[in-house]
Subunit: 337 residues, 2 copies
């Protein structure tokens, strides 16, 4: 590890330790990764509304694409495609990050251009290359559906649906999408049989090699921006430049939000360009361009074994049944230009 | 009603009455529509496997389109689009029929070209304008996923996945997608308060006007082919010619399978071309081209009120969580030509 990397690593570990310290659980506080706790749902009616909206393709121009299309809760909250398919089969510019545990991110999108889940939720709806709609039209669709109007009224007290309410409800649902009880978390909490020797060895390598400098905290990432290509430039045909587009600073070029590694077994392919098809590839590339290291195949396999212990309980709920459109609901326009 | 229509009507009503007769429930047997009964699941492991496959977009070339994309179980088992969106945003030639209660159809697809659900399930997978894949590639994807291989072995006893097993499992799941307990069925079973006076009046009109000649039996349709445009040619820009493509007989041109009216409130837009946006439109067009009738607005509203009583219990199950791809799983090719 370089001197500067080591400094970052130790600072982060120390900060994490302080944040996590409790008299009751000194073992956990020694680790740079903390367990995820199950969410207590405060407003079930709002979450139910948000769940329906999350699954409703009528928020897109085509009537075909919902939040769940690219952040599929059957598939780790991703689409498992390099870059997503949008309206009119538009090829997306960047890999769809997982929605699982996304409430723990310091900001949303790879470049952090949305402050929180609520700010994020409106983005794809009116992105011409994603859902291809407008906020006004999405709201007019919902406003025309009596069962939706009743649910909005229940949660917000008004007969008039607004985009602010729509994104509030979607965010409330997304905040419930946490994945506790991974084997790693069980191990963190004291069940020493939850991990195999190889998995523990992988975790040790993960810490000692410096991966944990960026991938730490409960989400094992999501809490900082880092340059993709610290030690060696990262070569890609993908045009995304990351954080500089938000800050306007040249120094932020190729800085991206560090992705969470929770459920990383499910969220392939990896990186903002989706170019790493497997965890093996991803670990090798990260070692090379971020740490200037080369793991042996055995070391790589141990780290991958550790990473697979980060898969937690997946969202568990009934498939939502959507209220039908009314005669006055604007119809989808999948093929109009 | 014309003499020939009346003959069909009476024959069907008589046949349905005989089929439904039981000493215990003479009231039901007098009606040309019979209640739907809940399905008893015989092979839960097979149904669970089929459910996963139904929701798995990895059965498509793009990794984006699953059975559920066009037969969305959150939306009445349809996509609520005139004609579906397929691979590369291909505009489908015909409206996606509902999968709900489809096990009751005399055959599958609008033209009946598949004998049963199993024969149907393979169709979209290798249709270039739908899922755009091949059976061989779909099987190779599943074969590469250890958790799927284990489930196939549990149900079929072999380590080798076949397309025959894939479609058997999907069909087994689809057979569970029945929708009992509609208000109409409650009324049929003797709960005379289950329907309003207008709804009963609508049902009476539905019977007396001749709608029931084709829309009868437990699925309120799905059990015969009929010409679209009996009394007056049906005008459409849609090129589908229906049954003649299967039989080769010119007399079968524009003959289509009569769609089920179960859950018709949810399965808009209507007809093989999806050109009727609302039930009001659909009832008016059917009256004109099939029966040579014109309903008053009040009559139409009563029939529509009756049709909305046919919405039954929607499928109720946990969102399936799909097993992740392995390192050797062929990756989706959404944008390759």
């Amino acid at each position: 590890m370089s001197k500067s990397k080591k400094r970052i690593f130790l600072t982060v570990v120390a900060a994490a330790s302080i944040a996590g310290t409790s008299l009751a659980n000194a073992a956990i506080s020694d680790e740079p990764i903390q367990p995820i706790e199950a969410v207590k749902i405060k407003n079930p009616a709002l979450v139910e509304l948000g769940k329906k909206l999350y699954f409703d393709p009528r928020l897109s121009k085509s009537g075909f694409i919902s939040c769940n299309s690219c952040h599929n809760l059957s598939m780790g909250g991703t689409d498992n495609i390099k870059t997503s398919i949008g309206h009119n089969w538009h090829q997306g510019p960047i890999n769809s990050p997982t929605v699982l545990n996304s409430s723990m991110n310091l900001a949303q999108f790879w470049d952090g251009r949305a402050a929180d889940l609520k700010a994020q939720a409106g983005g794809p709806i009116d992105n011409p290359g994603e859902m291809g709609f407008t906020h006004e039209l999405a709201v007019s669709v919902l406003q025309s559906i009596p069962a939706y109007v009743a649910e909005f009224k229940k949660s917000f007290g008004s007969d008039k649906v607004t985009i602010d309410e729509v994104t509030t409800a979607i965010a409330a649902f997304e905040e419930t999408l946490v994945t506790p009880n991974s084997r790693f978390d069980k191990w963190l909490k004291g069940d020493k049989k939850a991990l195999s020797a190889d998995e523990i060895a992988g975790y040790t390598l993960f810490k000692e090699s410096g991966c944990v400098a960026c991938h730490n905290g409960p989400a094992v990432g999501g809490n900082s921006y880092q340059k993709m290509g610290v030690v060696e430039p990262y070569k890609t045909t993908n045009k995304a430049e990351g954080r500089s587009g938000v800050t306007g600073k040249d120094a932020d070029r190729f800085n991206f939000k560090v992705p969470t590694l929770r459920n990383v077994e499910l969220t392939y392919p990896y990186f903002h360009d989706g170019e790493a098809a497997t965890l093996k590839d991803a670990v090798n590339t990260m070692a090379r361009v971020q740490l200037g290291k080369k793991f042996t195949d055995k070391e790589n396999a141990k780290i991958v074994a550790f990473l697979k212990t980060l898969t937690g309980d997946q969202p568990s709920f009934m498939l939502p049944i959507l209220p039908p459109s009314s005669d006055s609901t604007p119809r989808p326009q999948p093929f109009s230009k």
